[in-house]
């Protein structure tokens, strides 16, 4: 899961007043024409929020760092616009006969920005380092399915304090065969393993990283279309230049890209309007209404992997009956909320798997469609106590107030149940509370995928193995049938069969409704007249290499 950092909590409240005062200006697009065709070369600038980390792939679990990292690296595989795996990365092939032992063969000719070759060792060393718990890497759980991962985790006492060194520094499941080949042995079969390895946690690292990880974090050395030509300055950003020896198919179009750190989206928007900034990879919510009219084809919108849902505390007797959960879900008109609150920038969810993933089915969620009569009937059957208000939970300061309140209003209108909003906890309190079964009503959660597989929308969120504190199954849903179908999908002989089994698991989920799917997010971006070919990829990032600068 990538934690989205793009929210302007500080400024959001007072902002509307300022916008009112300035709104009369409107968007005046009369600035300089774009001139000649978009050739190669040139410089452009792109907005990013402050990345949380030193820029190390295995420690980057949030959206801003991901945008930077993904322009500096190319992984084993890449993804097409529809989420399909493409072998345009470093891997020649990733094959297995039993879905457990995978042989990864690398292409010749890939080099890091410092000139050293990208070989099997660069992957194996990077993965071992990322999994080794004393290195405290945020994305370490991505390696947890590799055999020997547990031996790299430091033992802890009852209070969770580390009591010593891990038993090993290398995972037994990773074996270097030769320079261009290594094998990965998984702890349990996983047919979609090749789909996962395009994620940034699996990027290779050069020798120089291990000598000084700290320095590397401010000036990363990757193998991607761009190379860092200066240190990253927190609060300001840095400039990257085209890597001329890039071995991938899609070399960078522009000569230089300036990543500029901003604290607030509205400032970025003003900077684009004044012609000082070329790409804004997101839009302030207030600017969405009418954005297409205002900005024309400079406004770009694409479906994203983001999935917003409200989880039910299935441990609470009040919500333990699935008919109650089905009924509440059916009483909410998602599209109306999207139109009213988000200016239509969210799609009403009709599956638990997002549309950007192969395996999504339109209308798969029967109880996601508004049906007030049936909802009332189901509630009566379940004997739900309508006199008590429903408590709706969300984390504070992240812009969830309005839509959760709209959900409450619909429940009141359609079912005659009052609601209370419980939106005063920050993430740092909200998350522990959900881990310790503290939720007393439906609670907001979000997910965006790590890799385009239906499995990523199912197993980490609802399987028994993913119960807190180890995983994100915050509704504490547990259904052996669901678990078994997901496992069968993981061990399926081919991709099609895997997807079919995942869909069967999805069906069970959408019958039990431990969550109510709410929205699929759309990703927006804005470009200046200075650039074209601004494309949003499946992860919601801008494909920086594809952007051309108009001369």
């Amino acid at each position: 899961m990538k934690l989205s950092k793009r929210r302007s909590a500080l400024v959001a409240t007072g902002l509307s007043a300022a916008l009112l005062l300035t709104a009369c200006g409107g968007g005046d697009d009369s600035e300089s024409g774009s001139g000649g065709g978009g050739g190669e070369g040139g410089t452009f600038s792109i907005y990013i929020g402050e990345p949380e980390n030193p820029l190390i792939p295995s420690n980057t679990t949030e959206s801003e760092g991901h945008q930077v990292i993904s322009s500096l690296w190319t992984g084993l595989v890449q993804y097409a616009a529809d989420g399909a795996v493409e072998y345009t990365g470093v891997a020649e092939s990733i094959e297995s006969e039993d879905n457990t032992t995978w042989t990864v063969t690398l292409k010749d000719g890939w080099t890091f920005h410092d000139g050293t070759p990208v070989n099997a060792q660069s992957f194996v060393n990077a993965w071992n380092w990322g999994a080794y718990s004393p290195n405290a890497q945020g994305a370490s759980y991505f390696f947890s399915n590799i055999q020997g991962y547990d031996e790299l985790q430091a033992p802890t006492d009852a209070d969770g304090n580390p009591t010593g060194e891990p038993a090993a520094t290398e995972m037994s499941g990773l074996q270097v065969v030769d320079d261009q080949t290594f094998t990965v042995t998984l702890a349990s079969p996983f047919a979609q393993f090749p789909v996962t390895v395009g994620y940034n946690a699996f990027y290779p690292l050069p020798e120089s990283f291990f000598e000084d990880p700290e320095a590397f974090g401010t000036r990363p050395v990757g193998n991607g279309p761009f190379q860092a030509s200066e240190d990253f300055v927190p609060g300001q950003g840095f400039t990257v230049t085209r890597y001329d020896d890039y071995a991938g198919e899609e070399a960078a179009k522009a000569e230089e890209v300036e990543f500029r750190v901003y604290a607030d989206l509205n400032t970025g928007l003003n900077d684009v309007e004044a012609g000082n900034l070329d790409v804004l990879p997101d839009m302030p919510p207030d600017a969405l209404a009418g954005a297409e009219d205002t900005f024309g084809d400079r406004f770009i919108e694409a479906p994203s992997s983001g999935f917003t849902y409200m989880a039910f505390p299935t441990y609470d007797p009040r919500y333990s009956d699935k008919r109650v959960r089905q009924a509440l879900s059916m009483a909410v008109d998602r599209q109306a909320i999207s139109d009213a609150i988000f200016s239509g920038s969210r799609t009403a969810a009709d599956d638990a798997i997002a549309p950007v993933v192969d395996g999504y089915r339109e209308g798969a969620c029967e109880y996601c469609a508004l049906d007030v009569d049936r909802a009332n009937q189901l509630l009566d059957e379940a004997g739900f106590d309508r006199s008590q208000p429903i408590e709706l939970w969300f984390n504070a300061g992240a812009g969830h107030d309005a839509w959760v309140e709209a959900v409450g209003n619909q429940l009141r209108e359609n079912l005659g149940i009052e609601y209370t909003l419980r939106g005063d906890l920050d993430f740092s309190e909200y998350l522990p509370l959900q881990d310790e079964k503290g939720m007393t009503g439906p609670f907001r959660l979000g997910w965006s995928m790590d890799y385009p597989s239906p499995q990523n929308y199912l197993e980490p969120l609802y399987s028994t193995a993913a119960l807190p504190p180890a995983g994100s199954n915050a509704s504490f849903y547990s259904n052996p049938e669901f678990d078994s179908l997901v496992q069968q999908g993981n061990g399926a002989s081919d991709n099609e069969q895997a997807i079919e089994l995942y869909q069967q698991a999805d069906d069970i989920l959408l019958e039990d409704m431990p969550i109510m799917p709410m929205f699929f997010d759309l990703e927006q971006a804005l470009r200046s007249e200075n650039v074209s070919d601004v494309v949003i990829d499946v992860f919601g990032d801008i494909d920086v290499a594809a952007v051309t600068v108009n001369s």
Binding site: L3, L19, T61, N135, Q137, Y141, G160, Y430, A470
Partner: protein
């Protein structure tokens, strides 16, 4: 005088220790689990959580955590944030930005504020006096957030006179944010000066000076203004201390990577070491500039003696 300054400086030590403990305790008292929030919707691996909690002493009681922090601090180690970035690096990087912004803002509010206040005070109830009164009331009434966005949009985006965000254009980048930041204090400085000047103009020593036949210019600059500046200097001194603490709203809107934003972010992330390091530094600045103000009193008014 020297003894006085030395004594005051020595007094800052207990104040700094007390302040840092207080801030440390406040961050400690914040509810929630910062390490859990690091991972977001997907929890970090358990061994990683254990490693981080151990590294940042999060499982120790408050006094133990604080003593460990002080121990490191005495050795010149300001600690790191949760992601391993040195706090001292953060301060080094961000302090110059805040200092520049403060210099620009203070320069604007001092020069414009005192001149406007002086002119208004000399001709009370004249056109200029009323103009200063009305405009300063308006500026004080508008929240700085609104002022910042309007200034950015009108003067930056529409008119194109100023850079909109960032610090890439050197001192020029600080002009508009400095103006916005100074606006509120500017109004106070103007009105303080005006009142003070108006009052002093009626004082006996001014009448004496006039009676001696001194030119009007000398009466006003040498006698009236100098005496009128004491409350103004007090205000400006306190204001420097405040501005050095970072102007979160202005820094955010104009995208200046200063100290205020660093504190805001680290309070949200509950990063004790960062908050304490920076805020203690702010407290020091505040004390220091108050001392400077006290010393300046003696320069402005020879009757004030510290020995």
């Amino acid at each position: 005088m020297g003894r006085y300054i030395a004594r005051r400086l020595l007094l800052t030590i207990p104040v700094l220790i007390g302040a840092s403990f207080l801030i440390f305790a406040l961050v400690y008292a914040l509810p929630g689990d910062p390490i859990r929030a690091l991972g977001g919707d997907r929890p970090l691996a358990p061994a990683v959580v254990a490693e981080l909690r151990d590294e940042f002493n999060l499982d120790d009681p408050l006094p133990v955590q604080y003593v460990k922090y002080l121990g490191d601090l005495v050795q010149g180690d300001f600690g790191t944030d949760f992601r391993g970035r040195e706090v001292i690096d953060t301060i080094e990087q961000r302090l110059p930005v805040t200092i520049r912004l403060t210099i620009v803002a203070i320069a604007i509010e001092t020069v414009i504020g005192i001149i406007a206040g002086l002119l208004a005070g000399i001709r009370r109830n004249g056109f200029l006096d009323n103009l200063v009164l009305v405009s300063s009331t308006i500026v004080v009434a508008i929240p700085i957030l609104v002022l910042a966005f309007v200034a950015q949009y009108v003067l930056g985006v529409k008119a194109g006179w100023f850079p909109i965000a960032g610090i890439t254009e050197g001192w020029y980048s600080y002009l508009l944010p400095g103006l916005v930041l100074a606006s509120g204090s500017l109004a106070y400085v103007a009105r303080l000066t005006r009142t003070s000047v108006a009052e002093n103009l009626r004082a006996d020593y001014v009448r004496t000076a006039r009676a001696k036949g001194l030119p009007n210019r000398t009466v006003i600059t040498r006698h009236t203004l100098r005496n009128s500046l004491i409350p103004v200097v007090t205000f400006i001194g306190a204001d420097i201390g405040t501005l050095m603490g970072g102007a979160i709203v202005t820094e955010t809107v104009f995208n200046l990577p200063g100290i205020g934003r660093a504190v805001f972010d680290s309070v949200q992330a509950q990063e004790g070491a960062v908050v304490v390091g920076i805020v203690t530094l702010m407290v020091f600045f505040f004390i220091f500039f108050n001392l400077v103000v006290d010393v300046l009193y003696a320069v402005l008014d020879p009757r004030i003696r510290y020995d």
